[in-house]
């Protein structure tokens, strides 16, 4: 199965998003490189708003990930509550 991935700038705002991804996607691999955090996952990767809000204690607009989003691969399925990357079409 091919990997999907998503990468964020390594900063304070992206941290809860990355932590939420790690919590929701046990198979995800995190790669730190200078200024960048890339997360690879086999086949599928989900970002959940609930999990991020649980970590920060505040409401989170999932569109705010775009402020720190660097790149991604995979087909996107998104709504207000989650963003999923996969190769399903």
């Amino acid at each position: 199965m091919s990997n999907v991935f998503i990468a964020f700038q390594a900063n304070e705002e992206a941290r809860p998003v990355v932590d939420a991804i790690i919590a929701d996607n046990p198979e995800a691999q995190v790669v730190h490189s200078p200024g960048l955090i890339k997360i690879d996952a086999p086949g599928r990767l989900t970002i959940r708003r609930d999990t991020i809000e649980g970590l920060t204690g505040r409401p989170y607009d999932l569109q705010a990930i775009h402020v720190n989003l660097v790149t991604l691969s995979g087909h996107i399925d998104e709504d207000d509550d989650q963003l999923t990357l996969s190769w399903k079409h």
Binding site: E12, R15, P16, H32, S33, P34, T56, G57, R58
Partner: protein, 334 residues
């Protein structure tokens, strides 16, 4: 000549400060909230006791009867430190500004009936003085309380209360004349229906124990005032009679009350869970101040809601008591 540019990863030797690491259990990456809060309370080397209170150190946990082994246990679930708090409020301020602009541009303030406008001014405007009292009290909690985790959000809360007072002032200026503010101040000072609440607010100014003040102001009084005024009065009563403008201009208050209630409940829950003594004290305070607030709000509720006042008051009281019970207090057996 070739210049070979390479990216080099420099990993930090430590992930956070040593004093933060001791709280979060090892050298893990700490959030800004943790770094801005944990270990920030001045503890030692005060040298002199304050001349205005020689019985205590400058920062002294014994100003409160509540005993906690670790005052940093009173974490804010919203994880507010200065940056997150200001960014959150700035967003809400933007929304409120556009509400004010909308109401202004559609002349919605003028579209209300005179009787309704008069009643709104009569009920809401004197509350700016109550909100100012809440500002004073939360500032006092910050000044005399102990532990940055507890006192820093109290200061944010104080400034939020000032914001509430300012929104009420602006509301008065939008739907009424500038004289409305003076009229409301006179009502706060002289009108019989406001005197019990004013007495309660002024009595709370001299409460010495910062934790008692926290329970009195934030749970007992505001825990009933906000559901009563911004729930029953503005949303259920005024809005249905063509006063949608008022609901728009006070949109911040119920939203903020729900948000800050999470902090207040979390603080009380942790303090009550620490010991039976704490739980008993907090329950006594919540009950005594809750009853006073209930009585003080009764004449205001009658002005606001007429025959529906009693039901709305009881509903507000139940909402407050439900929060207290959920936080582990026992209001019935104290």
């Amino acid at each position: 000549m070739n210049i070979d540019l390479q990216a080099r990863e420099i990993t930090p030797l430590r992930n956070t400060f040593a004093h933060v690491a001791t709280y979060i259990g090892g050298d893990k990456t700490a959030s800004r909230y943790q770094e801005a809060t944990l270990g920030a309370q001045p503890r030692v080397n005060f040298h002199y006791r304050p001349t205005w209170d020689p019985a205590h150190e400058l920062f002294d946990a014994s100003r409160s009867a509540i005993r906690l082994a670790d005052w940093y246990a009173l974490r804010d679930p919203r994880q507010f430190y200065y940056a997150t708090w200001t960014m959150t409020r700035a967003r809400q301020q933007d929304a409120m500004e556009s509400n004010f602009a909308f109401v202004d541009s559609k002349r919605m303030g003028v579209l209300m009936s005179d009787a309704l406008r008069e009643q709104v001014l009569q009920v809401l405007l004197p509350l700016r003085h109550a909100a100012w009292g809440a500002n004073m009290n939360n500032t006092a909690i910050c000044a005399y309380g102990y532990g940055t985790a507890f006192t820093a959000p109290a200061m944010f809360h104080a400034m939020d209360n000032l914001g509430v007072a300012q929104y009420l002032t602006r509301l008065g200026l939008v739907i009424g004349a500038p004289e409305a503010l003076e009229t409301a101040k006179q009502a706060w000072l002289d009108a019989p229906e406001w005197q019990p609440l004013r007495r309660l607010v002024e009595d709370s100014f001299v409460v010495q124990d910062p934790f008692e003040l926290f329970v009195a102001q934030n749970l007992a009084l505001d825990g009933q005032l906000y559901p009563l005024i911004y729930g029953s009065f503005v949303d259920d009563h005024v809005a249905l009679q063509g006063g949608t403008a008022v609901a728009m201009l006070t949109a911040f208050m119920p939203e903020w009350h729900d948000e800050s209630a999470r902090w207040i409940d979390a603080v009380i829950k942790v303090a009550a869970a620490e010991s039976e003594d704490n739980r008993r004290l907090l329950s006594q305070w919540a009950r005594a101040w809750g009853e006073r607030a209930y009585a003080a709000l009764a004449p205001v509720a009658r002005v606001a809601l007429g025959e529906h006042a009693q039901a709305a008051l009881d509903e507000a009281r139940q909402a407050m008591e439900a929060r207290a019970a959920k936080a582990g207090l026992d209001l019935d057996n104290v």
